[in-house]
Symmetry: C2
Subunit: 431 residues, 2 copies
């Protein structure tokens, strides 16, 4: 049995590093701002390393700064890990990622307290930059570990607003480790990840634990629209190449098409140049995050938009786009693929470990409280699942809100998740 | 006769302060980046003060940092001024504003060289922050001088990206003057402003000089869209309050409606929060610059948009907006009026001085080369014209391009403009 109060207390204690926006009256009603490889992330990492060393773990840090804490078992072999991340969104909450890491440490504490010897080693991983918020490839460190992203790409990845790269920041905060970021050199026996659902499904259906069977596909792009700066007062619409107006049409069209095809499309970043009220912007860059349960549908959506964006930018009428306005001189559109995370199916045995562990905790009433589900968000488990048996445990979060300071997971649900994580890891270890 | 080479040489010499983007191969094929009250603006101001003092002028600096250089005449009285501005857009050119100030100084030099005594004083003004690029109220200093903007508002105006105010920057660069910024305390006899047209009309029609009869109306707004941050992967469209998607619709709709009503609408600045690929933004602010030749039409456009924006933001179908997408939870829209510049009619006598001066220079063929016209852009002359007889002189600029590094006015057209400016000022002085 894990110590629910200890878990809750420790989690909120470490949220002093990266304090975000206050949204309520309780001491813990404060969001997080702990961007990957920032000074606050370093403090959280230092705490993590000290905590697991105190618990008798061996610590490895790899070339992407991911931290592996290993508690020896009876036999040697690849450890069964609880993994998640300590970085957050710029206006994130206290549970996304953080809960999973803390539950892993609580697992180690519980094993130590009970003098439990596992068959093989077990451990906890803190993956670097899961969010992809500061450096815009999500799950990039587990991606490098899995061989899906090259180390070079991971190291050279630049921050969204500034010159720093992941490598320069890893060096600066002294987390450029010596272990190769590689599933071959540093293998994982199995990977379990506890996470808040970040969506409304569990809460709406009264479920307490989600046994996650897979993750939907998503792709991130940076779209660049090139027009020409000109004066807003002296240039009539016919003589403009208005990159902001064009970007507005493309964002709206991506939403309309995604709607029609049952996919998601979202723009979370937009930067324009030069940025003056009376200058029509000559250049806009925006992010496009598209998702679907099916790889093929996502690719189809991309194909449609790649074909239609240049037409819309040229001023041709596409659906209701460009119908009511004045046709200008047109803009050019470029796409860059930043993140590619295909649909993922988790390992059946791992899903079963989660399910059985949840049922053991919840008792007889458990059938309707444990739900098999698919994740809308990506997680490091996507990349580990290509290289090791993997599953995830979801717990409800209030109103399905995440990536928002008011993200909230109750002490009860945090404790439930950690208990199921411990059970799932021990079950897998015994198999 | 002005010295055309001296004018050209001096103008480009002072463009070393605020060097922008290179766009061609000639030494002067380089744009400008000289934001109001920046270090580079200070250097240009210091040069201006030294130059006019060398020419024997009295110098006054007012509480908004506008600089008045006065060359005494036979009789005392309010001077006839040549006025314009030395500040530029972030990616501006070498002629917008700068030409007008340099032509004024060339006028003083020519009068000195020829020992010409005018009836009344003549002078040159460098108005502060005409562009409204860094501090987002255009022509703010002539606005304060004219009593149309309060000194408090002018002083407290904040920069677009940062905490500085106009007053704090005036203090920092030591141009917070002691003369009251007031048309009563510091009167203007008449105001002539030479400027590049910034549009394509003169060039397209083969005109050489525009005698400007007035300026179209414009209003600047900051529109704020409030939604709610959420996760791009786990939040379906129905559960979103997507402020970026909403802003895209509003920008497109403002273009469509302006098109329909023969007005202009443009967005040159857009900032969103929090700015992460996988977070649907909860807040967007964008600038809206709307223009029309008629005040009433501009107000009508505003009224229509003020009525329709909230509907579009709520997800109602307005024209083709919201037709193809999924209705979400809606966003809220707020408007703030930043600049209000009503349509302006210049003084008939001044327009006549410009016309006669142009005809004198261009000779017999002049009828088709001198054109009466309306300005699409605002100028400090808008505010002076409420308090003193005013007109402007336009010269062609290549392809009508302005607010762009490649803005270009030929040596011939620069010289023509300066010659007409001198002639117009002397004509008015004699009246
Ligand atoms: N869980 C989470 O927010 N991961 C980041 C990757 C994504 O956007 O799905
Ligand atoms: N001439 C000029 O660009 N003035 C700034 C005010 C405006 O945007 O019209």
């Amino acid at each position: 049995e894990i110590d629910r109060q200890r878990l809750w207390g420790e989690l909120h204690k470490t949220c002093e590093w990266g304090v975000g926006e206050r949204w309520g009256e309780n001491p813990t009603d404060v969001g997080m701002h702990r961007l990957a490889l920032s000074d606050d992330d370093k403090k959280a990492r230092d705490w993590f390393v000290a905590a697991v060393q105190n618990l008798g773990c061996e610590v490895k840090i790899d070339a992407m700064g991911s931290i592996f804490a290993i508690r020896p078992g009876k036999k040697a072999g690849p450890p069964t890990y609880a993994g998640s991340h300590l970085d957050t969104q710029p206006t994130g909450g206290r549970y996304d990622g953080i809960l999973g890491v803390h539950a892993g440490i609580e697992m180690l504490r519980t094993l130590n307290d009970g003098n439990v010897e596992t068959e093989y080693p077990v451990g906890v991983i803190n993956w670097t930059n899961e969010e992809g918020a500061r450096f815009p490839i999500s799950m990039v460190a587990s991606g490098v570990w899995a061989g899906a992203v090259s180390l070079e790409k991971g190291h050279n990845l630049k921050e969204v607003n500034g010159p720093a790269t992941q490598k320069s920041e890893l060096e600066r905060i002294k987390y450029l480790g010596t272990t190769e970021a590689s599933h071959e050199v540093n293998p994982i026996g199995a990977h379990f990840e506890l996470h808040i659902e970040q969506g409304p499904i569990l809460e709406a259906s009264g479920g307490k634990i989600g046994a996650v069977e897979g993750v939907q596909a998503y792709r991130w792009y940076t779209v660049t629209v090139k027009g020409r700066d000109c004066h807003t007062g002296t240039t009539d619409f016919r003589n403009r190449s208005d990159s902001m107006l064009t970007a507005a049409k493309l964002i709206l069209h991506s939403h309309n098409k995604a709607s029609e095809m049952g996919c998601l499309a979202s723009t979370g970043i937009l930067n324009l140049k030069p940025g003056s009220t009376n200058t029509v912007p000559g250049s806009v860059q925006f992010s496009l995050d598209m998702r679907s349960k099916e790889n093929s549908k996502l690719l189809e959506l991309e194909e449609v938009l790649r074909a239609e964006f240049p037409k819309i930018a040229a001023g041709d009428v596409v659906d209701c786009m460009n119908m009511a306005g004045t046709k200008g001189r047109g803009c050019e559109v470029e796409w860059r693929l930043d993140t590619d995370s295909p649909a993922t199916k988790f390992h059946e045995v791992c899903v079963k470990c989660v399910q059985e562990s949840a049922e053991a905790m919840l008792g007889t009433a458990s059938t309707s409280l444990v739900r098999k589900m698919t994740s809308g968000a990506g997680h490091d488990s996507v990349y580990t699942s290509g290289r090791a048996p993997t599953s995830m445990i979801f717990v409800p979060c209030r109103d399905g809100v995440s990536h928002h300071p008011a993200e909230y997971c109750s002490p009860e649900d945090c404790g439930n998740g950690a208990q199921v994580l411990l059970g799932a890891v021990l079950r897998y270890d015994r198999l």
